[in-house]
Amino acid sequence: MSVPQANPTERPILRCTGVVAGHDGLAVVNGLDLTVGAGEVVALLGANGVGKTTTLLTISGLIPLLGGSIELQGRDLEASRGKRIGSSKGSARSKQVLSRARLGIAHVPEDRALFFDLTVQENLRLGLKRKKDRKHESLASDRVPSQVEDGTNQAEQQLSSSEILDQVLGYFPALTGLLDQPAGLLSGGQQQMLAIGRGLMSQPKLLMVDELSLGLAPILVEQLLPVLRTFAQTTGAGVLIVEQHVHLALAVSDRAYLLRRGKATLSGSSAALSADPDLVEAGYFGE
């Protein structure tokens, strides 16, 4: 049951316009435009240090946005910040992250940020949204019906927590037998599954995965990446991945952006990009 994606940019899940972001007030990302459509997997490519991870951190709110705008389903994420643009004050920052997580952004960071002392089941349960947020969400989508959301998504929001858990375990059957294991005892691949699974538990509108392949065997990566594809297609959510393995990323994604010096210097359908390897290479190594 694939979702029609006639024009993914028409009402995108995520739209970044002229994003400026970086650490300690120094811009790493400088004027990035990027969209992720409903049901779409988008890859963010580029050499080390061009700002791929910074982009994800900025979208989830872990580091401040220094300029430009980020919209989730047409809603400006920084609208509530008032005059505090680029505020890096601890409390304002943590509020940003919390409100975005509740709005439906799930971020699987590079280090996976798992709760090692807790069991797999507890980790997954923590991924669940609060009931209040889940209810609020279904009301909101009632008011703004859209072609993407009325089908599958609507039904999902009424799932009970155990049904959501079953669904996530459906994506990662390997976790089923490990539910009572502490997360810290899992292998690298199992940890990555758990990290993504925890993100999926929140039934996100946007799932961001940073360096899924980091430290994993290639065969495992080839099993995990298609899960993201399936998730996007069945739920109509957007998926944004950062990946060092260009060919793997292009194989699984619909579109890709190539970052250079904090800007998207190249973008297009993944099929077109993988047909022209020289173009991508040029993006990495300069003209």
Partner: protein, 694 residues
């Protein structure tokens, strides 16, 4: 046989219960916020003072200075309203300390939160001393909460309040365990302790978790201290120091198990009571006379902590934080010759020109600076939080008196004493090879308590409360004594002796910092594993640094012994060690200049004298309260201390002068490091600063 002592064991239940309650609170705050709060006993102590005041006349006294602190709330307070007030007050205190002190420090290194909680402890003790009628002027009738009639328990008479206290603590333990195991809030707390980033990404607010848990913890502590008052009494200092046995109990539970912490707390209380009961019996004459009986009672639990710490090794694993922890910067000493000339010159002029009171303050300043220098070496350069430095000084101080009185001439006696202190320092360093960070702070604190209670309080070694006097230091017929017969007090020549020792020590430390030893130390400080991977023998570096540092502390102790007419144990109380660490942090814990400033700020040092003179002695009243607040503020806003703040100010000035002269350089693209590595690279000049990027 058991029956003989069962009375003592059961009597210890009361003290054990309050230790257990504080331990519960420590475990709870640690699990929720990762902080070990040395001020926890002081917080309970303040709540109890406020409770008894309120119960007496309906006045609520707030922990504030300079503004009116007394609010008359009720005409006729009842037991119920007073307890209600105490619950609200302790919850508010827990919330305030979390929000104002520990939340801003949650990404700071362990040292910063140790220092901030010491500041909080000092502040609360002083506020209670200033705001509440205490001591002989007490007008408050303290009405106990629990019935004190004796009941029979297991065939032994014990007062009901002791048993009820135990019931309270056990109920609290069960409730907390259930909260953590079965509720969503408990799960979220455990999650936030594991990974703050992960918690935020799944929508858990670490602030909310920390706030609520701090409130619960403080309520438990406050109620327990209120309930224990009829049994143990209430005193700003001794009650605050209940945190030590509580830490012992909490550590035995790995700072995570409520049940073990409670059992250990009760056990420590009963053990202390049993030791007390056993040692006062005439039949226990096998214990040699030089062992202080009360010391044994205090030291035993502390020794237990040490064993637990060394045995567990990694009892307190570091938590995963959002941002790398930034250590105080430790710049390479520069222009050493120039600074030496300037400071030695100025001090010499001052020694000759000052009148006696100022000369005395200057000598105190120099001796305190020497002690602070030992802390700079071990804590600032190597990152090992040591609270035993003052105890090393004490060991050296009494050793020099004892060997000199036995006839060893002056420089040899001083040398022997310094070597003894160094040896003790190396022994203390042995567990440090296994224990680090906050655990080491507690281990060294435990060592300091053990040294104070068993060695420094021993009549045979120190003369007990009366103290002992050192013979005059005479070298080749020249008398270096601090006072001569007659009016000539605080003689300059003793000042020059101190100045000489201080100068040589500072130069030695500057030299160590500049050569490979210093680099090795800084490497160990910033990451022990990386240092080991780079071929540095971490254990050897630590032990070497402890040796250097305890040697300097020993020198300070020797000079202290020669500078006072009688040296007594009171100079080396644990609270003094906490103040010394705090002042050094205030001055700048990782630089020699910081040690000198710490000396200036020391009690009875030049700064207090001058401040007292300018304010008709009023500064003396508030000096501890203000330094307590100052510590908290510095720990949060200026981890590099006063010297660091001055250095940064100078650099900024230098940069703005340079910027106005020439167009700003393009450095925006190069900058990416979040300032984490500044430990080694500090003082690199304007290139490291932040260019105005708009």
């Amino acid at each position: 046989m058991i029956g003989e002592y069962s009375g003592f064991i059961l009597a210890g239940l009361g003290g054990g219960a309050v230790v257990a309650a504080l331990a519960l609170g420590l475990v709870l705050t640690n699990r929720a916020t990762g902080v070990i709060n040395f001020a926890f006993g002081a917080m309970g102590m303040y709540v109890a003072f406020a409770y008894f005041q309120f119960r007496d006349n309906g006045d609520l006294i707030l922990p504030v200075i300079f503004v009116p602190s007394r609010i008359h709330l009720l005409e006729t307070p009842t037991l119920f309203t007073a307890l209600l007030m105490a619950v609200f007050l302790s919850a508010a205190l827990g919330a305030a300390t979390y929000w104002l002190v520990f939340r801003p420090l949650r990404r700071a290194p362990a040292l910063a939160s140790v220092v901030a909680s010491l500041g909080l402890m000092l502040y609360l003790q002083e506020v209670v001393r200033l705001n509440f009628p205490t001591g002989s002027a007490a007008t408050v009738v303290r009405m106990g909460v629990l019935p004190e009639r004796p009941v029979r328990f297991l065939g032994t008479a014990v007062t009901a309040n002791r048993l009820l206290l135990v019931v309270f603590v056990v109920l609290a333990t069960v409730a907390l365990t259930a909260l953590f195991r079965y509720t969503k809030f408990g799960l979220q707390t455990r999650a936030a302790a594991g990974s703050q980033k992960g918690a935020m990404l799944v929508g858990i607010s670490p602030d909310r978790i920390g706030l609520i848990n701090s409130m619960i913890a403080t309520v438990i502590a406050g109620i327990a201290v209120i309930l224990i008052e009829p049994i143990s009494g209430l005193d700003p200092i001794t009650t605050s120091l209940l945190v030590l046995p509580a830490l012992a109990a909490a550590l035995l539970g790995g700072l995570s198990s409520f049940t073990i912490a409670t059992c250990a707390g009760l056990g420590i209380g009963m053990l202390q009571s049993l030791i007390l009961g056993y040692t006062v019996k005439p039949s226990t004459s096998w214990i040699p006379d030089w062992v202080p009986r009360t010391g044994l009672q205090q030291a035993v639990p502390v020794i237990l902590v040490l064993i637990a710490l060394v045995w567990r090794g990694d009892a307190l694993p570091d938590r995963a934080y959002l941002v790398d922890k930034r250590l105080p910067s430790s710049p390479t000493p520069r222009h050493v010759a120039l600074w030496t000339l300037l400071l030695v010159g100025a001090t010499s002029v001052a020694l000759l020109g000052f009148d006696a009171p100022h000369r005395q303050a200057l000598i105190v300043t120099m001796v305190s600076a020497l002690l602070a220098l030992s802390i700079v070496v071990i804590t600032g350069y190597v990152g090992q939080i040591s609270l035993a430095q003052l105890a090393f000084a004490g060991v050296a101080g009494f050793t020099v008196i004892n060997v000199a009185n036995d006839g060893l001439p002056f420089p040899l006696a001083a040398l022997v004493a310094t070597l003894v202190a160094t040896a003790v320092g190396v022994v203390v360093a042995l567990p440090a090879a296994r224990v680090r960070g906050m655990s080491l702070a507690i281990a060294t604190l435990a060592m300091a308590v053990a040294l104070e209670q068993l060695v420094l309080s021993s009549k045979g070694f120190s003369g007990g409360v009366a103290g002992r006097s050192a013979p005059r230091p005479v070298l080749f017929g020249a008398d270096f004594g601090i006072s001569a017969r007659g009016a000539d007090n605080f003689r300059p020549i003793f000042g020059f002796l101190v100045l000489g020792v201080l100068t040589v020590s500072c130069l030695m430390v500057a030299n160590l910092r500049r050569n490979r030893t210093g680099l090795r130390w800084l490497a160990v400080r910033s990451n022990e594993r990386a240092a080991a991977a780079a071929g540095i023998n971490v254990a050897r570096s630590k032990i070497g640094a402890f040796a250097v540092s305890s040697c300097i502390a020993g020198l300070a102790g020797v000079l202290l012994a020669y500078s006072t007419s009688t040296l007594s144990t009171n100079s080396f109380m644990v609270i003094g060690a906490l103040v010394a660490l705090a002042l050094t942090y205030l001055g700048g814990i990782a630089s020699i200049g910081g040690a000198l400033i710490a000396g200036l700020l020391a009690q009875a040092g030049l700064f207090t004298l001058v401040a007292n003179g300018g304010t008709d002695g009023k500064a003396g009243t508030y000096v501890f309260a203000i330094s307590g607040l100052g510590l908290i503020v510095m720990a949060i806003f200026a981890p590099d201390g006063i010297t660091g703040a001055v250095r940064q100010g100078a650099q900024r000035l230098q940069m703005s002068l340079r910027m106005s002269g020439q167009p700003p350089q393009q450095t925006a693209l190069a900058g990416s490091g979040p300032g984490a590595g500044s430990g080694l690279g500090a003082g690199a000049g304007p290139a490291e600063g932040e260019p105005d990027h708009e």
